[in-house]
Structure formats: C-alpha cells, structure tokens
C-alpha cells in the first residue's frame, strides 16, 4: 500500500531525540502509573487464564509485547489513510495478521507451550490492550512513539502476568519455571501444596490484592466514591 504517499505533507516539527524524556515516559509509565491491567483495566481475560505456570505466562507476555508494538507501528503508519467508519475492521485485520504470525511461530518453535496457551494466543486479537492502545495512541501519534508505547504497555501487562504466575506456581505446585523450589523434606514434614492456587478464582483474588498493594503505595490512583 502506498500510504506514505497519501499522507499530506505537514510543516516540520522540531526534531526530538529518540529517547527524549517524553519518549522515556511512554516506556516507563505503563509499568506503574498507567498499568494496563491494574489501572486501565485492559486485557484482563488472558492475564488471568494463562497464569497457572510461569513459562506460558512469559511466552504470552512476549507475544503481547511483539503484537502490541508492531501493530501500533503499522496502524501509526496508516493512521492518515484509514477511513474513520471502518477503522475497527482495519485495526482488527492488522492485529489478526500479527497474531497469525506469532501463532505460527509459537507452533513451530515452542509447540508444548502453544498447546498450553490453546485459544488464548488467538484471543490476543481481541485483547483490549492492543485495541485500546491502537485507538488511544497509535491513531494520533507518529510511528516511533507508538512503538515505544506498545512496548511499554506490553511490559506493563507482562509484569503483572509474571507476578501473578510466580505466586500461583510457587504456592500451587512448589515450583518455578518447572524447577522445584520447595524442597522434598518440607513435604515429608507435612507441608502440602495449596492446590487452590491452581484454580482459576485464585488468579482474580491475587490480582485484586496486587491492585490493593499498588494503590496503597501510590495513593493518587485511589478511586473516589
């Protein structure tokens, strides 16, 4: 597509460094102040479903970072030539193409993880983080800031995923990344894995507690009554 040609020529803005303070904030803010999961309430579905073990959650986080960053870039390039009425379908098509690439890649190189993730790789398409960032950021900004924004939000999502899955795997099966952490001797003394942590409801409660901790440290996020 000849999108660059179609873009109207704008007056040149003052040049900005690749990692100027403003761009850095795009990268760091989503880790805490505008975290996609705990503050923007985006992309919760997959965050909860894949966090039983650490390995699939890390793979999922990487997949979301890649899809989010690159679809942000593509939409940002296309932003001036997308008709407003059909923009959702255009966005979904771009995201779906990226997700197909990621899905085929996972199937080729980490087949067991891709089996564990089952439909959730496909559901990255409707992951609200991606749509949300496309709508809120990429449609109005240049490719490079959009790229950073995508990476930042992907990381913000990933960090919650890793924390939740770490708690669940450690307490639910006594392992981390498949390695035993809680020694056998504990079990002989009568320690039991709390299998409740493997169940889906525990993920919700852990995220609830993470939100609680985050907001009591960062009080400006507290919701008014």
């Amino acid at each position: 597509m000849s999108t660059e040609i179609a873009t109207p020529i704008k007056p040149k803005e003052p040049k900005e460094g690749l990692f100027s303070p403003k761009n850095k904030r795009l990268l760091y803010d989503p880790l805490n102040d505008t975290n996609p999961i705990t503050v923007q309430v985006l992309g919760i579905c997959s965050a909860l479903a894949v966090t039983v073990k650490m390995k699939p959650s890390i793979v999922m986080a990487l997949a979301v970072i890649v899809v989010c960053a690159f679809s942000n870039v593509i939409i940002s390039f296309l932003r001036n030539s997308i008709p407003n009425r059909i923009r959702i379908i255009v966005q979904l098509t771009v995201v779906a193409t990226m997700v197909i690439l990621v899905d085929q890649f996972l199937k080729a190189f980490v087949f067991d993880v891709s089996k564990q993730l089952s439909v959730f790789v496909g559901l990255i398409i409707t992951n609200c983080i991606i749509m949300g960032r496309l709508e809120a950021f990429a449609m109005a900004n240049k490719p490079w800031p959009s790229f950073l924004d995508g990476i930042g939000n992907g990381f913000g999502y990933g960090i919650i995923l890793v924390i939740v899955s770490m708690i669940r795997e450690l307490l639910g099966s006594g392992e981390l990344m498949g390695f035993r952490i809680i020694p056998e001797s504990f079990y002989k003394m009568g320690y039991f894995d709390n299998s409740f942590f493997i169940m889906p409801p525990m993920a919700l409660i852990i995220v609830g507690i993470i939100i609680w901790v985050q907001r009591s440290r960062n009080r400006k996020l507290i919701e008014s009554k």
């Binding site: 979904l92 779906a96 901790v213």
Partner: protein, 204 residues
C-alpha cells in the same frame, strides 16, 4: 438430549467468565448498574447465538482440511485453517455491524437500550472465544454449535447481571480506600467464581 447437555454445560460448568475469564474487560467496566448490565448481556447473547453457527459453517465448508471438497475434488488437500483467526474476526466484526443496522431499523426500542454496547461487542473476547472453543471442541452439527453459542451467552448474561447487582449494593459499604472500585470487584468475582466451581464435578 445432547443439546440440553451442551446448553447446561455452557452456562454453568464452562461459564465464559468464571471458568475461562473471557469478556472480562467489558464485564468489569460495564457492571456498575443493573440496567446497563442487562443491555450488554442481551447483546452478547444475541451476537454469540448468530456468530458461532456462522463461524461453524465457515470452518466446515471453507477452512478445514478437505472442507473445500464440495467445490471440486481437486481441493481435497487444501488446509486453510491458519486463516481462521482473521476469518473469524472479520465475520464477527461484520455481523456486529450488520446487527447494529438491523436492530436500528426494525427494533428502535432495543437499539436505544443497547446503545453503544453493540459496536463494543466486536472486541469482546467472549465472542471470538466462543468461536475458537467451537473449533477446538469439534461439535458434530450446526445445531450443537448454535446451542453452545446460546448457552455461553446466557452464562455471560447471568454473570454480569449478578455482579452488577452486588456492586449496586456495595456502594453503601465502607471499603478501604485502595481497594475501592476495581480491587474489590476483582475479589468479588473471585468469590463468585469459587461458588461456580461447585458445578465443576458434574459431568454431562
């Protein structure tokens, strides 16, 4: 009988929200009042009921290995299943768009109730999730797929209406500041999911 089993299973045992966390985002965002929750829930039932059978036909007559055999025997080995994501999402987005126009024309009352929720549904994960689960579970007939879609929709409806009712009551209770709003909603959903887990042992 098989249809009833699939229906009950989709509502209670494999509830979209409490067992798979699908459609969580709109579930948390639009559950502040019962009225809007009912509107969104109805719209989800509607779209799932239509989109799952359509995706079923797409899967079985276009995308699967050998699905194109009805065209000519030359296509018996063509496997287009890697295209399923993009086909499903395009189907869903266009069904939602179409539905919006139809409802606006023939049922204006319903249209005003559903309001902005109809277009939002295109990006609700429970819709795409329904189609992907339909593909994974390989239902035998289109009827079963439709019943599965309806059941999942009803399950989602029940969940969001229940949560919004609790949240309306919650407004009068004194919750610690940092937990207010989103935090307590997560914990509530967790507790509701624990209640729904009691259905897990049932095999139909």
């Amino acid at each position: 009988m098989e249809h009833v089993n699939i229906f009950i299973k989709a509502i209670f045992i494999e509830n979209m929200i409490f067992a798979y966390f699908l459609g969580m985002c709109s579930y948390l965002a639009i559950s502040k009042t019962v009225k809007s929750a009912v509107g969104l829930g109805l719209a989800v039932i509607f779209v799932l009921l239509i989109s799952v059978p359509v995706c079923y036909m797409l899967e079985n007559y276009v995308l699967k290995v050998g699905a194109l055999q009805w065209l000519s025997s030359d296509f018996a080995t063509i496997d287009l299943s890697f295209l399923s994501f993009i086909m499903y999402i395009a189907t869903i987005a266009s069904i939602v768009q179409l539905l919006e126009m139809i409802v606006e024309k023939y049922a204006p009352a319903l249209y005003t109730t559903l309001g902005i929720f109809l277009p939002l549904i295109a990006v609700n994960c429970s819709i795409l999730g329904g189609s992907l689960f339909m593909k994974e579970r390989e239902y035998a007939t289109i009827g079963e797929a439709a019943v599965f879609g309806l059941g999942s929709g009803v399950g989602w409806f029940l969940a969001i209406v229940a949560l919004s009712a609790i949240r309306e009551k919650l407004r009068y209770s004194n919750i610690p500041g940092p937990l207010r709003g989103l935090g307590i909603t997560f914990i509530l959903t967790g507790l509701m999911a624990i209640a729904f887990m009691s259905f897990m042992g049932i095999s139909l």
